[in-house]
């Protein structure tokens, strides 16, 4: 069934409200345009143009905004599958133990300040992990001169000054896809 915002859907005793449905004075109305889906007495409206929400299991794109001894702070920019901005500033934590499957002596062997990384959300409290192959750094800059780092074997080499750096590199490094 197709509905439009404000359409009457039922009474509050009949269903449990989910996305796209609101209740007022015991009545349920649609708050979005789309298709009504009812499953286990939970009613929701599915739209074409969904607003992204971040929860456990999502793949997200972010920028490292700070690194500490054993964790990094990542500002999440996009959610995979959505070409739409997030609703607010979301800062997540990436612990050193979740960066790579290998032992890291120093967090800077895995990620550094200003790196663009792809991560998986492993907790609803916005804890991140980059352990999988397709996750990790997809774009980085040289720590010395700020030049572009190019992939050389399993390391990154600066185009400008020849400095080599180590990262937890995604298999999509430098390809522009994530």
């Amino acid at each position: 069934m197709l509905v439009f915002p404000g359409d009457f859907l039922g009474y509050a005793e009949e269903f449990i409200c989910d996305d796209g449905v609101y209740s007022e004075e015991g009545k349920l109305y649609a708050s979005k345009a789309g298709r009504v889906k009812i499953k286990n007495k939970v009613i929701k409206v599915e739209t074409i143009n969904e607003i992204p929400k971040i929860s456990k299991g999502d793949i997200v794109l972010g920028e490292v905004i700070d690194t500490k001894n054993n964790f990094a702070l990542v500002e999440i920019v996009r959610k995979k599958g959505f070409n739409r901005e997030l609703t607010t500033y979301k800062t997540a934590v990436l612990h050193i133990s979740n960066i790579s499957t290998m032992y890291l002596k120093d967090i800077n062997e895995g990620i550094r300040y200003k790196d663009i990384i792809v991560c998986e959300v492993i907790d609803d409290d916005l804890k991140l992990s980059t352990k999988k192959d397709e996750l990790g750094v997809i774009k980085a800059k040289c720590g010395i001169c700020g030049g572009e780092l190019l992939l050389k074997g399993d390391k990154l080499r600066c185009k400008e000054c020849g400095n080599t750096e180590k990262r937890k590199i995604s298999k999509n490094y430098g390809k522009g896809v994530w």
């Binding site: 915002p5 979005k32 901005e85 607010t88």
Partner: protein, 243 residues
């Protein structure tokens, strides 16, 4: 007010419409690629483009409200939208229209669901011909639905004017300029019924009975526009079904 212009001849208006007849309306949703929601609307000779962005991060950051989303509405007339070139940029009139339109839309958008974010609505008047604020509100609410922003219902708007002693629906420029009164209305419509008045402005003078008649006429016109707004959005879903 010039006396030589006859706005009503033989019970018909200057463009041949009846007193309770709307102008032709064409609504198209989702016309802009980079906006989250958009709408192009033609209401007679009015041509309006509306774009909605958000809910997104608030820029500048200090404007953010920790309990609800902020709504920003910009009504802007293109320099070429009127006969004599309009000086570009916000002026007293468009700032006021932006404010009242924003307040009308704020009352139906469920801002409490998106704390610390902003919903930005930009409405551009490409061609103006009286009642552009009402056309803009209609376009903006379709764009909001297109963006998937949760709303309690929808805002639908129409203007009523008093011309040569008659109350007429949806005035054109001549009726607006030489008429006795002009009243833009916006209604909050839920489940196909008018719930409340979200905007009411007036210039000119009306008696109490004339105002009651104007509200009646506006309610009738608004229901027709509501159906068109609904169709414009549903078209997107029906196209999807065919694919």
């Amino acid at each position: 007010m010039s006396e030589d212009i006859k706005l009503i001849v033989n019970g018909k208006r200057i463009d041949g419409r009846a007193f309770d007849e709307l102008r032709n309306i064409r609504i198209e949703a989702g016309v802009l690629k980079n906006a989250d929601g958009s709408c192009y609307l033609e209401m007679g000779r009015n041509k309006i483009m509306a774009a909605v962005y958000g809910p997104r991060k608030v820029q500048p950051r200090h404007l953010a409200d920790p309990v609800k989303a902020i709504v920003r509405y910009r009504y802007n007339m293109a320099p070429f939208s009127v006969e004599e070139r309009k000086r570009p940029g916000p002026d007293r009139r468009s700032v006021e229209i932006s404010k009242v339109s924003r307040e009308a839309l704020e009352s139906i958008i469920m801002t409490e669901l998106f704390p610390r974010s902003s919903i930005d609505i930009f409405v551009e008047v490409l061609q103006a011909d009286a009642g552009s604020r009402t056309a803009c509100l209609n376009a903006a609410s379709v764009a909001l639905v297109d963006a998937g922003i949760p709303m309690r219902g929808i805002i639908t708007s129409v203007a009523v004017a008093k011309v040569d002693g008659h109350i007429v629906l949806d005035p054109v420029k001549e009726e607006d300029n030489f008429g006795e009164a002009d009243i833009p209305f916006a209604f909050f419509i839920r489940n196909g019924k008018i719930e409340s008045i979200a905007l009411l402005q007036m210039d000119g003078k009306l008696t109490k009975n004339e105002l009651i008649e104007a509200v009646k006429l506006a309610k009738k016109g608004v229901m027709e526009i509501y159906k068109l707004q609904r169709e414009a959005i549903m078209k997107k879903y029906i196209v999807e079904d065919v694919e």
